[in-house]
């Protein structure tokens, strides 16, 4: 069955404008080339190390980038460009974001009211009660303030802000930091449920293993680029993976040998020309310093001169 594409991002780039000493301005590209698509009922995970700027992806789609950031590329929502005007109408209704930390909740607003955005009519109240029992949150929690919640409860409350709408697209920004294994897993499962109900779910995370447990597809994000777009099954063995970095990530998983590769991601300001992974890649050759295309290989995508 061919599922409809909910979200398609083509060659997104986001950069910050920074003032250097004096009046010199500097462009700081955080996301350089990111392409992905999310289908109905599909859960896609964008995996990248912490602090690599992947949260901006969520903010870019939601239209809430800071004023000194600029975005290029194309975003299509249900086949049509997601213009600023369109996202303004859709966000918080069809397109929802699940934020990454408690600081995204108003510290002075009771949880229940907050989930309902201050409008607590009967219909919403009923829905809220249902969501709460589904997430096994006690009814009293509605009357509590964010500071009174535990980490796991905060997660569930934040997912509730998405559930209270009828979302077609859910973008979750780092949904599991600071949660212990079990809570993190159940948080991911809640997103899986949302996908199973038909929504497209985009998870932005640093936790590859967790993503592999629940997502349908995994995108590897590195130094501003999507390096690989692979089905979760491709991660079963190293051979089906395409990019050297993805393979390295695979080998770093405990059950696959716990091997880490040397080096760190290049800093935004001193990016190598050509392949961003070149300085750490063992297969790096002359042609890796030119333009590297993002190509379709075996039902996935890869940004490498080699196929596998």
């Amino acid at each position: 069955m061919e599922r409809k594409k909910i979200l398609e991002i083509k060659n997104m780039n986001i950069s910050f404008c920074q003032y250097q000493k004096g009046m010199r301005q500097e462009e700081l590209p955080v996301i350089r080339d990111l392409s992905l698509s999310v289908h109905e009922g599909e859960m896609v995970a964008v995996v990248g190390s912490s602090g690599s700027g992947k949260s901006l992806l969520a903010h870019g789609v939601m239209g809430i980038l800071p004023y000194n950031a600029s975005m290029g590329g194309e975003i299509l929502y249900r086949g049509e460009p997601l213009t600023e005007k369109r996202i303004r109408k859709l966000r918080g209704k069809e397109i929802v974001m699940v934020p990454q930390s408690t600081s995204y909740l108003d510290p002075l607003m009771k949880v229940g009211t907050q989930i309902c955005k201050g409008k607590k009519d009967l219909v919403r109240q009923k829905k809220l009660d249902q969501i709460f029992s589904r997430y096994s949150l006690a009814k009293e929690v509605q009357e509590q303030y964010p500071f009174e919640l535990s980490g796991g409860m905060t997660r569930r409350v934040m997912i509730s802000t998405a559930m209270i709408e009828n979302p077609r697209l859910v973008i979750a920004d780092e949904p599991t930091p600071g949660l212990h294994q079990k809570a993190a897993k159940s948080a991911m499962e809640h997103f899986r449920e949302l996908a199973d109900m038909g929504a497209g779910v985009l998870i932005i995370t640093h936790d590859l293993e967790l993503a592999l447990e629940t997502a349908d597809r995994v995108l590897v994000f590195y130094a501003g680029y999507t390096l690989e777009d692979a089905k979760t099954e491709d991660f079963c063995k190293e051979e089906t993976l395409r990019h050297p970095y993805t393979k390295a990530l695979w080998r770093a998983i405990p059950k696959n040998g716990f091997q880490y590769i040397d080096g760190v991601q290049p800093y935004v300001k001193d990016m190598p020309s050509g392949c961003p992974f070149a300085p750490r890649c063992s297969r790096c050759s002359e042609k890796c310093h030119g333009e590297i295309p993002y190509r379709e290989v075996n039902g996935g995508y890869v940004r490498c001169v080699y196929d596998s």
Partner: protein, 329 residues
């Protein structure tokens, strides 16, 4: 339990503060170079008096007594609730203060409410619309006003409204030549407009600036961003989150600003010859009226302290993190 402890602590604090203030005020007065006899009786009159008369006067003004003894005597009376007799007005200090305080309070309350409300609205507006025209206007106004001395603004208004336009009285709190019983409430309001207005104008800038700062912090917070991401309109964002979060700091500011309004009122009352507490303080100081000045000092300290105390208590009522005894940020 917690509240009781808090209040006891505050009471002790207040007591110590008042004690300290009274000692400092008294020390300053004793150290003042003003000679009460010269100031109140006058050089010529003194010259024509017999030594016995002068001695009597000296006794009256407390000249020659050791300061510590005088202070202790005053303190003993004050604790018993006896604030003494004003040397200048030859009336119970309580009575003098009651009249002056009523005048001043009238003025200060108008100014306090006006500056609080307007300052809050302007500050919140500017903060929510940072960098836009309204923000620039509010900021410009605040900078202009806060860099201008209050007494100068008072004189300017006096000249414009009292002298040129002649639509408002140039001074006093009641019409001249009218018996006390003939003074209506409207007369009082009419006379309070100019000083209250001056006082508010200066108060607004302070409140607006601070509210704006707070509002900007709030606008940069993650929860405001999330509210935007959830499709809340600017008004909803303000109503649901901005207002809620700026309220507690604004309240604190508002009550803490009592001290500033009080300080401002001394100057403004002077310019408008408005017979309030501020003016009484000035004449008591210049005339070495120890009991009156001490009483005024104590009352102002109490007012200011009370304002801050209310601010603290309100914070606890408004902010659930304190009210429900959670982690204080």
């Amino acid at each position: 339990m917690k509240t009781a402890k808090f209040i006891t602590k505050q009471m002790i604090k207040m007591f110590l503060l008042l004690l300290a203030v009274s000692i400092v005020a008294f020390a300053l007065m004793t150290a003042s170079p003003v000679d009460p006899l010269q100031a109140n009786v006058g050089q010529t009159a003194l010259g024509s008096m017999s030594p016995e008369q002068i001695q009597k006067l000296e006794e009256y003004w407390g000249v020659g007594q050791p300061p510590v003894q005088r202070y202790m005597a005053w303190l003993k009376d004050f604790i018993r609730g006896d604030m003494g007799v004003s040397l200048l007005y030859r009336q119970d200090v309580t009575k003098v203060i009651a009249v002056k305080l009523a005048n001043s309070l009238f003025l200060m309350i108008i100014a306090w409410v006006m500056s609080g409300l307007l300052g809050f609205i302007l500050g919140a507006l500017a903060g929510m619309n940072r960098g836009k025209l309204i923000d620039k206007v509010v900021r410009g106004y605040c900078l202009l006003i806060s860099s201008t001395p209050a007494f100068w603004i008072a004189m300017l208004f006096l000249i414009i409204f009292g002298v040129w336009l002649k639509i408002l009285p140039i001074g006093l709190s009641v019409p001249i030549g009218v018996e006390a019983s003939g003074v209506t409430f409207l007369d009082r309001v009419y006379h309070a407009i100019l000083p209250a207005f001056t006082l508010s104008i200066t108060g607004i800038s302070n409140i607006a600036m601070h509210t704006r700062e707070k509002m900007i912090d709030i606008c940069e917070s993650d929860y405001m961003l999330f509210a935007k991401a959830r499709g809340e309109s600017t008004w909803e964002i303000f109503k649901n989150h901005g207002f809620r979060n700026v309220l507690a700091p604004a309240m604190t500011l508002q009550f803490a600003s009592i001290s500033e309004i009080f300080g401002g009122s001394v100057l403004v009352e002077q310019v408008f010859s408005y017979p309030g507490l501020g003016q009484a303080a000035v004449s008591a100081g210049l005339g070495s009226d120890m009991p009156l000045l001490m009483a005024i000092t104590m009352i102002s300290a109490l007012l200011v302290f009370g304002g801050n105390l209310i601010a603290n208590l309100l914070y606890g009522v408004i902010d659930p993190r304190i009210r429900r005894g959670g982690a204080v940020r």
